[in-house]
């Protein structure tokens, strides 16, 4: 089902003409209003007027998450603060999060695109949407909420947590659509089983899952356990939030990226050059309609491929493959972004802790787990049990406070964490996601 049939099925030549026009407009705009872009374009020796085709995009410099951090909080905003009506920030980062601002028109666009995404997943007026994405600085909750309302569906803003109550409400309110992270959906299924609630007796028809990587195998498990069609959605706060791309219910094969607003490229993360069509690489997105914080060639660090094959659903927008990894070391643990360097910074901050550590990520009972192993050297060691246990508790607490992720700290003997050529392996991810 279409929400905006004209734009969703725009023939490629017309779509590309629109993209170029919008790209040229946004380039002029950021060059004039954001000092960062003026400086970076000047360094690259390119002016907005030099971009005469979509292929010229390759000549523009990239924008990275670090650029956003350096510009903290508002340095990359292209609209005056009087025009910003909403501020979100990326979840779970120490020190400086990445901050994004939306003008009223940006919110309208996001709402429309989220409504478009929900419609593509088969959601319609009359549906009852159980929105278990977190509400707050995280874009998930509010993004899905506004889109659901725009579509004319009934939205239950339940947010995350209190799983027993979630199940009761889902059952009593007759929810037909579930929106949450894929791992939380399986956690719910388990909790429902314990409560004696059978998903086959619920009215759920569609689940829209995102904010963390998942696999085809997991889709099969979710569809079986929750008795619904599981749809993959993609988004990131830097670009907009949820609703950047979504699978259509007709094909469930690749996520349509809304190309009238986002210009996707796939690059080799090492060289920065375009890969051959259809090949895997890092997804780079340029926002071509955003006003608050337009991003030019933003490196998402997500690994995927891009397909322009026609889709049975009739949409002409390219499809990105299910995300198959990251080109950096970022971990997504229960929907929270975690960089090993953040944990290292916390460990250094704890008096005496030499940052010789290992992160072990796993998935138990459908929930991600994080174990932080820390080697106990002489400065940390005590002959008293309570002192060492206190140290482990403190590590757990500081990581929870700073990153918002629950972990268990395990103290290990020195030199038990493998070192290779001077640089230790910092992460073991045992989750079988791809």
């Amino acid at each position: 089902m279409f929400f905006n049939e004209e734009f969703e099925t725009l023939p490629r030549p017309a779509l590309e003409a629109l993209q170029l026009k919008r790209l040229q407009t946004v380039l002029e705009r950021v060059y004039a209003s954001v000092p960062f872009y003026k400086a970076s374009f000047d360094r690259a020796g390119i002016k907005p007027a030099d971009v005469a085709s979509l292929a010229d995009l390759q000549r523009l410099p990239f924008t990275t998450k670090q650029d956003m951090r350096d510009a903290y909080p508002y340095g990359l905003f292209a609209a005056p603060m009087e025009d910003i009506v909403r501020i979100h920030a990326s979840s779970g980062t120490t020190g400086k999060p990445t901050v994004v601002g939306y003008t009223q028109r940006d919110i309208e666009t996001w709402t429309d695109l989220m409504a478009r995404s929900l419609a593509a997943a088969g959601v319609h007026r009359g549906d009852i949407i159980h929105n278990a994405y977190g509400y707050g600085l995280f874009t998930g909750g509010l993004g899905a909420h506004y889109g659901a309302e725009r579509l004319g569906a009934s939205v239950i803003p339940i947010s995350g947590g209190n799983t027993k109550r979630q199940i009761m409400i889902m059952k009593d309110f007759g929810s037909t659509v579930l929106t949450c992270t894929p791992s939380y959906s399986l956690f719910m299924a388990e909790a429902a089983r314990e409560e004696g609630v059978d998903f086959r007796n619920l009215k759920l028809r569609v689940g829209i899952f995102g904010a963390e990587p998942w696999s085809e195998a997991m889709r099969g498990e979710i569809e079986e356990k929750l008795n619904l069609a599981a749809i993959d959605i993609y988004g990131l706060s830097e670009i907009m939030g949820p609703g950047v791309a979504i699978e259509c219910i007709e094909a469930k094969h690749g996520l349509h990226i809304w190309e009238d607003h986002f210009l996707p490229e796939i690059i080799d993360p090492e060289t920065g050059m375009w890969v051959a069509p259809g090949e895997k690489g890092e997804l780079v997105i340029t926002t071509i309609t955003k006003q608050g914080i337009p991003l030019i060639r933003y490196r998402t660090r997500d690994i995927t491929s891009l397909s322009y094959e026609p889709c049975p659903c009739g949409r002409t927008h390219a499809r990105i493959a299910r995300m198959s990894g990251r080109s950096d070391d970022m971990l997504i643990i229960r929907g929270v972004n975690v960089f090993p360097s953040q944990i290292e910074a916390i460990l250094v901050g704890i008096e005496g802790v030499e940052p010789h550590y290992l992160l072990i990520v796993d998935r138990k009972d459908n929930l991600d787990t994080l174990e932080v192993q820390v080697e106990v050297d002489e400065r940390l060691f005590s002959d008293e049990v309570k002192v060492l246990q206190g140290l482990a508790k403190r590590i757990e607490k500081e990581i929870k406070d700073m990153l918002g992720v629950t972990c268990t700290a395990k103290l290990v003997e020195p030199r038990t964490i493998a070192r290779s050529e001077g640089k230790a392996k910092r992460v073991i991810d045992n989750r079988q996601l791809v």
Binding site: D377, F381, S382, D383, V385, L388, L411, E413, P414
Partner: protein
Amino acid sequence: MKVEQISVFIENKSGRLAEVTRLLGDAGVNIRALSLADTSDFGILRLIVNDREKAKTVLKENGFTVSKTEVVAVEVPDRPGGLSQILQTLDSNSINVEYMYAFVERCGENAVIIFRFDETDKAIQALQDKGFTVLAGERLYSM
């Protein structure tokens, strides 16, 4: 009047304790007393040995985290109530016992208990004032 104890961090996995005792045995270090405090994840092995420097060196060389701690060895009359009198003395002086364990050898007619106090000097003074015998380290290592 203090005794030097060696403490070793041991991960809770099989063979680690055996490794410590093997290393000490091979180095000719004799263990005079020991206690093991354990949790689900790790243990702390506390040792009184005849040759502290050698023990420390060999364990460190083999990657163990080792520290030295000052503890107190007290002679305890080997009869009912013997230990109780000592603990009452400590309690009336508001001294906390972090942990304690028994020494293997007897000292004449008396048993020997190793104590770790929160205030070591104050504890020694209080015990001696009450007439208890606090053993010097040198005597203990060679017992």
